[in-house]
């Protein structure tokens, strides 16, 4: 009897867990549906939606959201897509990529070597909660970007705006302050003497020793040193001299000496993993207010609808940086905003509010739901509801053809185009140039010999791969810059064409010789480690296949690592690969400093050239287009000569539309890289 009771109890318990499990979302807690009932509802649904004029919801198929729906902080393009609907920018891009007025206007004038941008807003703009839009809202965005603790995507804080540096540097993590102040500092306004003493006498040396030890361990792993105590040998391998029997601390001191006390530089250059400052107590990462600079002098409010931004130097994309910015309601986001503390702003990342065509309703079940904003300044959108649904890349076309979604962007391929043509009655598509390009990069630190790099370049057989993979949908490019940028040198000639014989010559020039079927130098075989993301469906895969084959013939080896994209990125950033296959996207100007400048954050090839740096600086300040284009061509030639980047292809992006639900005639006449359905969403209609 007891047992019977127990079994009942257990059943109840199990049901309870089931219910709890399904509590918050009533996700199909019962068994599958009665199939007849299912089909019935399908029929009904089909009937109701095929009646003319009854589509009231536009569904856009997109990919995974991070859930950061704030124009100030979003990272993923898909989150950005949503933000574009909810927020308006002062100016936007026209089909040709030129900045044009939207909710306002921008003008620039030169005055005594300074460039003053004047931004004016239209009168009468309102946020969706009814509050009027003022210039304060734009200035608020500037201040968020410029905040010392800002960690989003925008580079606004690095611009050469009057007073910007003072503002940004007015606060810094404690360690940075201490470091800059040095041990001799006697100003204890921001921290006390004990802290300083403890930092320099205990914590820094400890962290330094840990930092050095990491290098030693690395050397041990790599076989350069015998064991973790063998600091002297490891230091030797790292290029420093430490006496026999020295400790990790000695090693660190040796490094400090070599860098003349520039610990920041030391940490960046020598790190075997952790940054020196990561090894410090987390208490040191807290921000310290250094000065009471609370304003950026270059940003001035003129009246409620006008402000000026003063640049110290010329910037070719200054207008975009100033005016292609969203209007974020200060009264909403900025309520608790203080300099140095963005948490209150970030807290609203999941509840955006703006003055765009649509307002945010909800984000659940992988769907972002938006509703039309009747007060939108360009007129209320014609489609009352807009939803962004997360869909799988592989099913995008089917979803369009099945009528589940209305607009999406599958990766363009000949088959997709063919399928679209086949279903011309049900779907339409547009092809635009992708503002980016695919390339194969070489790490100049790991492959220091220019001739080896050149040899590798000569083994890259790009044309057949790109042609067969993309057909008409992509072209082989010869310089590392996307041709959608006006400055791209369209008549550039190939620098390295596919020629295994020549490659071998280069290798021989580099000192390699073929011995017993192996290509060796100083007894070591030429082995190149290359990384590629998702190789099974990558246009560059055949290039590597051919390359591996040719290198094997020569007696060298190409080790291909097929990696997940995130891992590939990490390995490239960590400098662990000799060569990698990647692509750049979303380029809007000819500024290459990030990728090729010595201080560029994306200079993964670790090739540093003063000549290139100088050219880049010059380009950024050359306002005349032709002059600039010539400089760009020169810069790109230099990069090609260094054999660090092999541009591979520039492809087209595709957008496909559901012709049954969508009134295709209301789509933009000219869809380009810079201009698509979203650019005039308020005009879009459904059947």
């Amino acid at each position: 009897m007891k047992k019977a009771f127990l079994s009942v109890l257990l059943c109840v318990a199990m049901c309870a867990t089931l219910l709890v499990g399904c509590g918050n979302k009533e996700a199909a807690a019962t068994t599958t549906t009665d199939s007849s009932a299912t089909t019935e509802t399908t029929d009904e649904a089909a009937e109701t939606v095929t009646a003319p004029g009854t589509y009231d919801t536009l569904v856009v198929g997109t990919q995974v959201f991070d859930g950061v729906f704030s124009p100030l902080f979003y990272e993923s393009a898909y989150d950005g897509q949503v933000c574009d609907m909810i927020f308006t920018s002062v100016c936007v891009l026209d089909p040709d990529g030129k900045l044009v007025d939207n909710a306002g206007h921008v003008e620039v004038k030169e005055e005594g070597g300074k460039y003053i941008y004047t931004v004016t807003l239209q009168d009468g703009l309102k946020f969706s909660d009814g509050e009027p839009v003022t210039i304060d809202d734009l200035i608020f965005a500037y201040y968020v970007y410029a905040d010392p603790t800002y960690d989003g995507n925008s580079t606004f804080g690095t611009l050469d705006i009057e007073g910007m540096a003072d503002y940004v540097n007015s606060a810094a993590p404690l360690w940075k302050c201490l470091m800059n102040a040095t041990a001799d500092n006697t100003d204890f306004a921001n921290w006390d003497e004990d802290t300083q003493k403890k930092f320099f006498e205990e914590d820094l040396p400890t962290a330094g020793a840990a930092f050095a030890q990491e290098i030693v361990d690395y050397c041990v792993d790599a076989g350069y040193a015998a064991d973790a105590n063998d600091v002297s040998t490891a230091a030797g391998a790292w290029g420093f001299e430490v006496a026999e029997g020295g400790t990790a601390e000695d090693f660190f001191n040796a490094m400090v000496e070599a860098y003349g006390g520039d610990l920041l530089n030391l940490s960046n250059t020598e790190s075997a993993g952790s940054s020196l400052f990561d090894l410090l107590d987390p208490a040191y990462t807290e921000a310290i207010e250094l000065t009471d600079v609370n304003e950026i002098t270059g940003i001035k409010k003129v009246d409620d609808l006008t402000c000026t931004v003063t640049f110290n130097s010329a910037n070719i994309s200054g207008d975009k940086l100033v005016a292609w910015q969203p209007l974020v309601p200060k009264h909403y986001y900025g309520k608790d905003f203080k300099k140095g503390d963005l948490t209150s702003v970030k807290a609203l990342n999941n509840a955006p509010l703006g003055s765009g065509a649509y307002t945010f309703v909800s984000y659940d079940n992988n769907i972002v739901t938006l509703a039309a904003n009747p007060g939108y300044f360009k007129g209320a959108p014609q489609i009352p509801n807009l939803k962004f649904q997360v869909v799988d890349e592989n099913t995008k076309v089917d979803l369009i053809l099945n009528g589940d979604i209305d607009i999406t962007d599958p990766s363009a391929s000949l088959e997709v185009v063919a399928q679209m043509e086949e279903n011309a009655d049900k779907a339409a598509y547009s092809l635009v140039d992708n503002p980016g390009y695919g390339y194969i990069g070489i790490n100049a630190e790991n492959v220091p010999d220019l001739n080896v790099r050149k040899g590798l370049m000569c083994l890259m057989n790009r044309e057949p791969a790109v042609k067969s993979y993309y057909g008409e949908l992509a072209e082989v490019i010869e310089r590392p810059m996307t041709p959608t940028v006006a400055e791209y040198p369209r008549d550039a000639k190939p620098v390295y064409s596919y020629d295994p014989a020549k490659a071998l010559e280069y290798f021989k020039e580099a000192g390699y010789e073929q011995k017993d079927g192996k290509l060796v130098k100083n007894g070591e075989q030429l082995v190149i480690k290359v990384g590629i993301g998702d190789a099974s469906s990558h246009p560059s895969t055949p290039i590597l296949t051919q390359m591996a084959n040719d290198m094997a013939d020569m007696g060298a080896e190409l080790v291909v690592n097929d990696l997940q994209f995130s891992v590939l990125t990490d390995m490239v950033k960590g400098g662990e690969l000799d060569m990698w296959v990647m692509a750049w996207g979303n380029a809007t100007d000819c500024d290459n400093t990030q990728m090729f400048g010595s201080k560029g954050g994306s200079n993964y090839q670790h090739y540093y050239s003063d000549e290139i740096d100088a050219l880049q600086a010059k380009i950024l300040q050359t306002v005349d287009f032709d002059e600039r284009a010539a400089l760009v061509a020169e810069e790109l030639d230099l990069i090609m000569d260094a054999a660090i980047y092999m541009p591979v292809y520039q492809r087209k992006n595709m957008e496909i539309y559901n012709a049954t639900t969508l009134n295709i005639d209301t789509l933009p006449e000219r869809t380009t890289t810079y201009y698509n359905y979203a650019s005039q969403i308020e005009k879009l209609q459904m059947n």
Partner: protein, 321 residues
């Protein structure tokens, strides 16, 4: 009985403890520079979070010391902060578990409801055409990877015939409420559940069949027949109750595979559940979440085994604790 349950719970805790050691040591074997690498390039991940992870797994401490502090945190429900979601792992699990649970449990119930009768029929007609057909089809279900089935079935049912939705959890276009919403959910879950059931039923069915064969040749079945019981009752009562015993133990063991399967099925059908999040976290190097997810499944498995063991005692009077 109560004593037995207490004993089982204690043993479960011991096992959980061992599982945690194992999981912890896996987390520990993540190389330090990998943490820095994976997290360093991602602007979402603050140094605090990196530090938090190092602290959590005690990468800076000795193994023992590190484990103790990790265990302490884990016992307080702190399994770390998900890199991707920037929320405590426990919270992430909570917010994504509904679809996974719905999927897993409905599939499990269906599997059991289908496998038992079919297994019995196959056993009754051993070596007959019926037997061959049932067994062959069931084994076919476990002979193809689930992603393969999912793709082909979707091609056929969703894209070809348009009977079922292609992916997602609800129809985005419609704004269903109440019961319609429920039906909409059900429609979206149908295909994933079919894939689950096809993939899971074979093992169970075969198990039922083998056990039934064994039971059918048992003396007490002959006794039941000798009593003059109609065949229906011989099978339905005497044989069935006895096959139930091993089946009950098997059901508890199904949990890990159900959740493992969720990783694939949810990914393919764009269902926002734990499995899909797990898959994403691999791509994001979100080790804290993966660890938490594994720990969560381990706990579920142990609960499942515990329930199985107790049910075992309920269905088999010979088992006395």
């Amino acid at each position: 009985m109560r004593q037995y349950i207490i004993k089982r719970v204690v043993v479960s805790f011991i096992v959980l403890f061992l599982v945690s050691i194992l999981l912890y040591s896996i987390a520990r074997s993540v190389p330090g520079d990998y943490v820095a690498n994976v997290t360093g390039g991602n602007p979402n991940i603050t140094p605090e979070m990196q530090q938090r992870m190092r602290e959590l797994y005690g990468l800076d401490k000795g193994i023992f010391e590190g484990y103790v502090s990790w265990l302490k945190d884990a016992l307080h429900g702190d399994l770390g902060t998900s890199f991707k979601y920037q929320k405590p792992v426990v919270e992430v699990i909570k917010s994504y578990m509904a679809p996974t649970f719905a999927l897993a449990f409905i599939s499990m119930v269906l599997e059991i409801l289908l496998a038992i009768p079919l297994g019995i029929i196959a056993a009754r007609k051993q070596y007959s055409m019926t037997d061959y057909t049932i067994v062959a089809i069931a084994i076919m279900g476990i002979s193809l990877p689930s992603f393969f089935f999912a793709s082909v079935l979707r091609r056929w049912l969703s894209i070809g015939l348009g009977i079922l939705p292609i992916s997602g959890m609800v129809t985005a276009r419609a704004n269903y409420q109440g019961f319609d919403l429920f039906i909409d959910y059900a429609k979206h879950f149908t295909l994933p559940i079919i894939v689950f059931v096809i993939n899971g039923i074979g093992g169970l069915l075969r198990y039922v069949r083998t056990n039934m064969l064994e039971v059918l040749s048992a003396d007490y079945v002959r006794t039941a027949r000798a009593k003059g019981l109609p065949e229906r009752k011989v099978i339905g009562k005497h044989a069935f109750r006895n096959t139930l015993i091993p089946i009950v133990t098997m059901v508890g063991g199904m949990i890990p595979s159900l959740f493992s399967g969720a990783v694939i099925t949810e990914g393919i059908f764009s269902l926002e559940g734990l499995g899909r999040v797990a898959l994403d976290s691999v791509y994001n190097g979100d080790i804290p979440y993966l660890m938490g997810f594994n720990m969560f499944i381990a706990v579920l498995t142990l609960i499942g085994t515990l329930i199985s063991d107790i049910l075992y005692a309920v269905v088999d009077p010979r088992v006395r604790y």
